[in-house]
Subunit: 214 residues, 2 copies
Amino acid sequence: MRSTTSDSNSRRSPNTSPETAQRILSAAVAEFARHGFTKTTVRGIAAAADVSPGLVIHHFGSKDGLRSACDDHVFELITSAKARNAEYATMAVQMMFGDPEMSTAVDYLVKSLLDPSEHGQRYFDHYVDLVESYITDGFAGYTFRQSEDPHGQAATIAVMALAPAMLEHRLHSVLGTDDTAETMTRLAPHLLDLYLHGALESVPDNSGLRDEEP
Amino acid sequence: MRSTTSDSNSRRSPNTSPETAQRILSAAVAEFARHGFTKTTVRGIAAAADVSPGLVIHHFGSKDGLRSACDDHVFELITSAKARNAEYATMAVQMMFGDPEMSTAVDYLVKSLLDPSEHGQRYFDHYVDLVESYITDGFAGYTFRQSEDPHGQAATIAVMALAPAMLEHRLHSVLGTDDTAETMTRLAPHLLDLYLHGALESVPDNSGLRDEEP
DNA sequence: ACCTTGATTGAACGCGCGTTTAATATTAAA
DNA sequence: TTTAATATTAAACGCGCGTTCAATCAAGGT
C-alpha cells in the first residue's frame, strides 16, 4: 500500500504499462530465487510488486507463464554477462556476488537447476558447452587436462563448479560464515588447490601410513 | 486397494501395528525422495502404503512428524552403512546404487540437503566430519593434500562429492545416459582424474596463447 | 463528446491440501 | 463374555492456492 493513484512524477500509464509488468517480473525472479517455485505463491509475488494477484495473471497468463518469462529474463542476464567478460571469470564471480541483481539471478538459476522440471535444463546445457569451450581453448591463461571424453569431462567440471552455490546454505552453517562472499572466500583456496593439483596425493607406494612434508 | 481385511497369512495385528507404521514410513521415504518434501502429499504417501490419510496422521502426528521419523530412519541407515564398510568407499558407492533401499536413502538425503529447512543439516555436518577424518587418516590407501584449514578443505571436498548426486537429472539429459549407474560410470574417470591431478595444467608460463602437445 | 482499449482491483470460485472427527473393526485383558 | 484400548476408515472441515470475473479507471482515437 504505497500510494493509491497519485505519483509525484504524475505520468501514470494510460492503458499500456510496461513498467508495472517489469516490476512484477523482477519481484517474481526474487521470490522464485528465494523460496523456489513450488513454495512461491502468486499472492506473494503480487504483494512484493505491490499489485493485486489478478494483475499478475493478467500480464503473464499463469504462474507457469510468469516462470517462463523469468527463465528468459535470467537466461539473457546470465549469458550476456558471461559474454561481456568471458575470460575474466574470477572477476565475473566477484561481480555475481557484488551486483545484487546478478546474485539473485544466480540463485534463480540454482533453484531452476535443482527443480525436477525441464525449465532449467538449458542453463546446464549452456554451462556445459561453455566449460567444454574452456577445455578446448583454455581459460584465464590456464589450459585444461585433455581427455578422450571432453563432453563427460565438461559435464563433470560443470557440476563441480555449480556445487558450492547449490549447498551455500549448508556451508554457511558448517563453516560459521555470515554471508556468501565470506563462504566463497573461505572455499577459494581449496577450490584452486583442487583444480590445480587435485585432492589426493599421488604417492601409491604403501597403504594407510602417511608422513609429514620432507 | 489390494485387499480388504483377509490375508492368507491371517496374522493381522490386534491393537498394536508396528508393521503398518513401518510400511507407511517406507512409503514416505520413497515419496519424499522422489518428489521432495513440499510436493509430496500425505494422501500420496497413504495411497503408496495402501492406507487412509488419517492413519498416517494417527501414527506420526503430522506430516512434519513423519518427516522427522524419516530423517532418523535414513540417518541411521546411512551412518550404519558407512560404519560397516568405511574404508571400501568405492564398494560403498556400488552398493548405494545397487541396493534400492540405499539408493532411495541417498535420494532422500539429497532432497533433504537441498531443502532450505534445518532438517538436513546434520547429514552435511556428519559428512564433513567424515571427510575431515579421511583427510587426517587417509582414505582407501590414499593420503590427502594437507592444508592450513582442514575444516574448510573438508567442506569443499564434501560439496564436490555430493554434487553429482544433486545434479543427476541434469547429467542424464546432457550426457544421454539412461540410468544412474551409467551416468556415474561415465563421470568416474574424470572424477578420479580431478581428485588425483586436478583439472588445470600447471603450466603458468605465458598468458592467453595456448599450443598443442609437443 | 463518445467509444474503445487495456490496466487494475476486490471478490469470489473450485480445488487440493493437512488435519480432525465420529464411527467401526479387531484383539488383548478382565 | 464383557470391556477397554487401539487400528483403521470415510467423511468433513478450514485454509490457502491458482485462477476467473465483473466492475472501475484512465487515456487515445475518432
